[in-house]
């Protein structure tokens, strides 16, 4: 280190002498396909095992190998698990992005980098730790392919030393990650140790960031939303799955296939109590779901934006013939192919009224892994109760990233299979008419092939209440009005919002899905930094329930925070508002492909409040 550089580092050390424990973000910049996932998950898991709240977000390209990818790990003593805008600790492994990655760091940040990249002259206000990765990996293995794979474990070792992450926790996390592959574990352990020992001998600690043990993750899990949804689908008793691979939805069905294979064999015959079909496209995927559901199976599909567009026609058929369907939409950035590996909440409007003609569809809006689980079960019950397609709108951030969660509870209610006609009901109602509103809730009785009950002819063309072809004006209008009545019934059945009305607060937030995590943090920032109290309503479903209207009435101004350009949920809300409510509604939007962060919400709210 030159005299000048050393002087600079001393200044920084003085300026940032306070330790920053458990409140910072680490970003690892690598190349897609370089096998960094294991190293990143080991890092994440070892912090989690030390009891420190943590979240991991993968920002990856739409590419098999070769393009830049970033993995961000955020430790937060207060438990904030949304994205943090600023990176505090960079691991620069990718020559292509290293310069820009360093230049965008905030002052006082630290960087571990691959020595040949020679980054340390780029900035004087950042702490640099050069590590000769190639030199360190050489003695570990002669196999070039293995070298490439375990090379990344070296930075875990370096960080273990620099950030005081317990090596024993690293080893435990590594074993969790690799299972029983003893050879791979041994190889990775030597890389880990090589990194640790290098840092111990050559890299004096200059930055303030440390991980200190806490007890805030006890009893918790680390899980991706898509895996959680898959568990929910299996526990919902799904019997039919049809899907077409698409990012970021594929891992939902892939996890589901694994679980079904393991846990859903008939104990007597060993045969499958489910069918999974990889369809030829999303159109066929939903067509199969509708066919299976029409005969009475619990059927679902999972997709993302482009698949939603393709499913429009069949969604209308499901709505009009009143066949249940569960459709997961793991939202990504559109329009068109858009940014397939980035996150957004951009399908809200499309899903709510998908298909031509007058159509309306219930949507469930999970915010967390545990809601991916519970809402999967809710979706099947609602689809069968309401006899209509139901959407579950998750997103890439929730579906593919790793989230802390409490273990899921075993369902307390039995499955709701909806209004299926049986002998007793038939005697009570006298005559079966498939589309007659017997109970006044807009939901008719339903029969399925093979149930011994009267048959009917399902059709996407105009029909009367006996399911017969009809072009009569009264038949058509009566049917459409009943469907609208059914949607009003949906309002009483969908999950209610979570409301936190703060006494004296004049401003309110409305959020949904992953936006929740940014709002939680923003509310704390507004209170702590500006003394502003903000009430909060988290939507959990569409159609909106009465609580939403009451919330708007209780606030002077309501900011609906969402991750799309066109304020899509706000548009849906405005369609149902009174003029007075309408005037109170404001919008905070975020649409850069990265998850929304608390600071952005805070800044935008303050800007709009000050500009009033």
């Amino acid at each position: 280190m030159s005299v000048t550089a050393s002087a600079v580092q001393d200044t920084i050390r003085e300026a940032r002498s306070a330790r920053i424990a458990n409140d910072f973000a680490i970003q690892v910049a690598t190349v897609n396909g370089s096998g960094s996932q294991t190293a990143n998950l080991v890092l994440l898991r070892s912090i989690f095992q030390m009891g420190v709240p943590v979240s991991g977000k993968n920002m990856f390209p739409s590419n098999i190998a070769g393009l830049p990818t970033w993995y961000t790990i955020r430790a937060s003593s207060k438990g904030y698990i949304g994205r943090k805008k600023e990176v505090d600790f960079l691991v620069a492994m990718n020559p292509e992005t290293a310069r820009e990655d360093v230049l965008t760091l905030p002052s006082g940040a630290a960087t571990v980098y691959d020595e040949p990249l020679r980054l340390k002259d780029l900035r004087g206000d950042v702490i640099f730790y050069p590590v000769p990765f190639d030199k360190l990996i050489t003695p570990i293995t002669h196999d070039a392919k293995l070298r490439r794979l375990v090379r990344n474990m070296i930075y875990d070792g370096v960080l273990s030393k620099l950030l005081s992450i317990d090596m024993a926790q690293m080893e435990k996390a590594l074993r969790k990650q690799l299972g029983k592959k003893e050879k791979a574990i041994a190889l990775n352990m030597s890389a880990l140790k090589a990194g640790y020992e290098y840092a111990e001998a050559n890299l004096p600690k200059l930055d303030p960031f440390v991980i200190e043990p806490m007890n805030k993750t006890q009893g918790m899990l680390l899980i991706e939303g898509n895996a959680a949804a898959a568990i929910g689908c299996m526990m919902a008793g799904v019997t039919f799955v049809s899907w077409y691979p698409i990012t970021p939805s594929s891992s939902l069905c892939e996890s589901l296939i694994d679980y079904l294979k393991k846990y859903r064999k008939d104990p007597e015959t060993g045969k499958a109590t489910y069918a999974v079909i990889q369809a030829e496209d999303e159109i066929a995927a939903l067509g199969m779901v509708i066919g299976a559901s029409w005969v009475g199976a619990r059927a679902m599909t999972s997709t993302a934006g482009p698949g939603i567009s393709l499913m429009a026609e069949f969604t209308g058929l499901g709505y009009y013939t009143e066949v249940p369907a569960v459709i997961f939409d793991i939202q990504r950035v559109g329009p068109s192919t858009g940014l397939p590996t980035r996150t957004a909440q951009q399908d809200v409007l499309a899903a709510a009224v998908l298909s031509h003609g007058d159509t309306q569809h219930p949507m469930l809006l999970p915010s967390s892994a545990s809601e991916c689980y519970t809402m999967a079960m809710d979706a099947f019950d609602l689809a069968e109760r309401l006899q209509t397609p139901v959407f579950v709108l998750s997103d890439l951030d929730l579906g593919m990233n790793t989230w802390m969660s409490y273990p899921f509870e075993y369902p307390k209610k039995p499955l709701d299979r909806g209004k299926r006609l049986d002998e007793a009901t038939l005697r009570r109602i006298g005559e079966f008419a498939r589309y007659r509103d017997v109970d006044g809730d807009g939901i008719p009785y339903r029969t399925v092939p093979g149930d011994g009950m009267p048959a009917y002819f399902a059709r996407g063309s105009g029909h009367n209440e006996k399911a017969q072809y009809s072009e009569r004006a009264d038949d058509y209008a009566n049917n459409l009005d009943r469907l609208a009545r059914k949607f009003q019934t949906a309002r009483t059945l969908v999950p209610k919002p979570e409301v936190d009305l703060v006494r004296g607060a004049r401003v309110g937030f409305i959020g949904y899905g992953t936006t929740h995590w940014a709002i939680v943090e923003s509310r704390d920032q507004l209170k702590a930094e500006r003394g502003i109290d903000v009430s909060y309503l988290r939507l959990r479903a569409y159609p909106f329930t009465k609580e939403v209207s009451d919330f708007i009435d209780a606030c002077d101004r309501v900011y609906l925070v969402e991750q799309n350009r066109d304020a899509q949920m706000l548009s849906l809300l405005k369609m149902e508002c009174s003029a007075v409510q309408f005037a109170k509604l404001r919008s905070i939007r975020h649409y850069i492909g990265l998850p929304i962060d608390g600071r952005s919400v805070t800044m935008e709210l303050l800007k709009q409040e000050e500009g009033r």
Binding site: A272, A284, I290, W294, V295, G296, L317, F457, G460
Partner: protein, 328 residues
Amino acid sequence: MSTETTVQPPAPGRKINRITERIIESFFELGIDPTQVIKLSGIGCSSKAPAYFLSSAHGFNSVHGRMPSVATGAVVGNRKMIAIGVSGDGDTGAIGIGQFVHLMRRNLPMIYIIEDNGCYGLTKGQFSPTADLGSTLKTGVVNDLPPIDTCALAIELGASFVARSFSGDPKQLKAILKAAISHRGTAMIDVISPCVTFNDHEGSTKSYSYVKDHDEPLADVSFIPYFEEVTVEYDPGSTTEVTLHTGSRIMLRKMAEDYQPTDKMSALRLLHETMTRGEYATGILYIEPDKQDFLDLLGITDEPLAALPEAKTRPGKAVLDEIMETFR
């Protein structure tokens, strides 16, 4: 068995069409309980057909070209049902070709009928993808694109029962239908059925008179259900016997000396040769009675998936706890 209709047929003079009549007779003669049948269709004139037969069976008139996917879900959802789908040449060959291809590939157990008239009847007579090269519309427009041969395509893709017939040949059509009902796997039947309104004129190669003159019956098909005494006279050197999955047998009286209905190559060769001569080979073109069907491949329970009780579909708490443990 009721044949009552609740709606008007698609065109005057069509009555219930000849194919529908044969379907009704075939199911009736085989003694099949209609409540154990499901009827499916896409969109088009042909797709209205299921409304005219087996009224105590459930039916689903779905969307244009997408009946195969709905049928796939339905058959997998309840494997006990006998599924019959009626499509048209536009519904199958144009908008639905993608789903048709994958249905054939999967060898899903169902009867798939194409009512093939080479034109779009419901939108008043445009060409469909099965219209022959050089045939003309009523308006004089000439078709300059080659036709898709749905039979050749189905054989190539893996359908295990492929036949072609003519709506004007009730005897052959009924024998084929009854064989198809007894087959396990996809039974694809292309039935040339002139559109009396839009495609039954001089320049059409799918008019009633053209087909009558150019029909090359491939074999004299007799269908023998297993529960009947088999007393068919035949010359052993000129017939082929095929045993279907249900134990029923079909006898194909060979017209061509070396024709083997169980041989893919001879089936495809025959189709190409007859097409070159401007003829339609009719009869059962190809059959593979023992081919594994899609339900076997999926390994699903014998009990219909749709009828499984909660006890078999929702795993117990121990399973959830075990899964939760893996994420700690």
